[in-house]
Amino acid sequence: MATMLAQTHAFTGLRLMQKPRSTGCSRVRGVAARAELELKPLPFANDALEPTISSATLDVHWGKHHRAYVTNLNNQIKDKPLANKTLEEIIVETYNSGSPTPEFNNAGQVFNHDFYWESISPSPTEPSAELKAAIDEAFGSMDEFKKQFKAAGATQFGSGWAWLVKGKDGKLAVTKTPNAENPLVHGQTPLLTMDVWEHAYYLDVQNRRPDYIESFVEKLINWEKVSERFAA
């Protein structure tokens, strides 16, 4: 990257002396504003989620699907004004009030997967007292929340996501979104997500999505992370 920058500046210097064309300028601005988005490493070992999520699933899910969303997005926004924006800004902008532009699917999926991995903990965790109280207030009990969250995942027809969100009114709610869509485009704050695309569970439980959901909700939710997001 350092070499690339040096070369770019050297190149620009030359062009400046010869009156630069606008293409040269925008390229430099793109490079200076932000490096390319990167595939973040998984926050746990590849086999840490067995048997709910196998290392075979994680190898493809993180190593192929998630990676492809990052690569595709970088290619799509290269040298464009979007390359200067944060991922969240790209998502809201490319959602385009419900008529998404081509970048939206990749941007949404990069965010959703980052958020999904961080929603998971291989070891048991507990929600904070504050989050617990908010869940009781919104759903009546933790059991009722889990029931609604599981149902959201089970009834998302086709590919998509289940979410716990903080709404514009500050109240907690369970939602589901198709494909790459997420709560950011609805002005909600996501606190927890569960991927229900078939690629999230098909190698492990095939058509039995409810088995994956049951195990995910009971064993893998990172309640510390969810509490931290709630407090933020």
Binding site: F157, G158, Y202
Partner: protein
Amino acid sequence: MSLTELPPLPYSYDALEPYIDAETMNIHHTKHHQTYVNNVKGALERFPELKDLGLVDINKAVGTEKIPQEIATVIRNNGGGHYNHSFFWKVMGKPGDNNGPSSDLKAAIDSSFGSLDELKSKFNAAGAARFGSGWAWLIYKSGGGLAITSTANQDNPLQSIVDEGGIPILGLDVWEHAYYLKYRNLRPAYISAWWNVVNWEQVNANFEAAKKGDVPV
């Protein structure tokens, strides 16, 4: 085709090997397709008068007032899933068993796409570009002529809700469950392998039916 029963596969589960594996075919037919049938059956128990519609007509009724609001989504998703899979099994067969499009269909393909290769390339692109779950289709348009389309989830060209309707001639399932056990994330590899098991005899028959306005299933 019964609205409330799972049709048998017209070949054995391993007939499409090595392009589509027996385990995938088994789960796809006995679990996924069966679930769509069960859900249609459940919805029709509440509205038995709809049973007379049949599988094709219930799909044509999706998005219209003929389907009660309470079961509109269930019928769209599961009536669609039942039709799509019933249709899909029949347009596939043992690799090497078929000779390609009839001269009639070939002429229609050349007229609409230029060549069979061009059709395949557009069809492959439609399947690869369908984000999430769905289908790629070759359809016969109401005004004549062929077109390639793609639908989300279990929607299909018979349903009035889709962008471009018509009579399906050929269809390809690009839900991940159709290929994930064997091809993982490599959907394009599944799509190009799938052409080896296309049953052109059935596709030719579908084309002849469509020209008369009949919907194949």
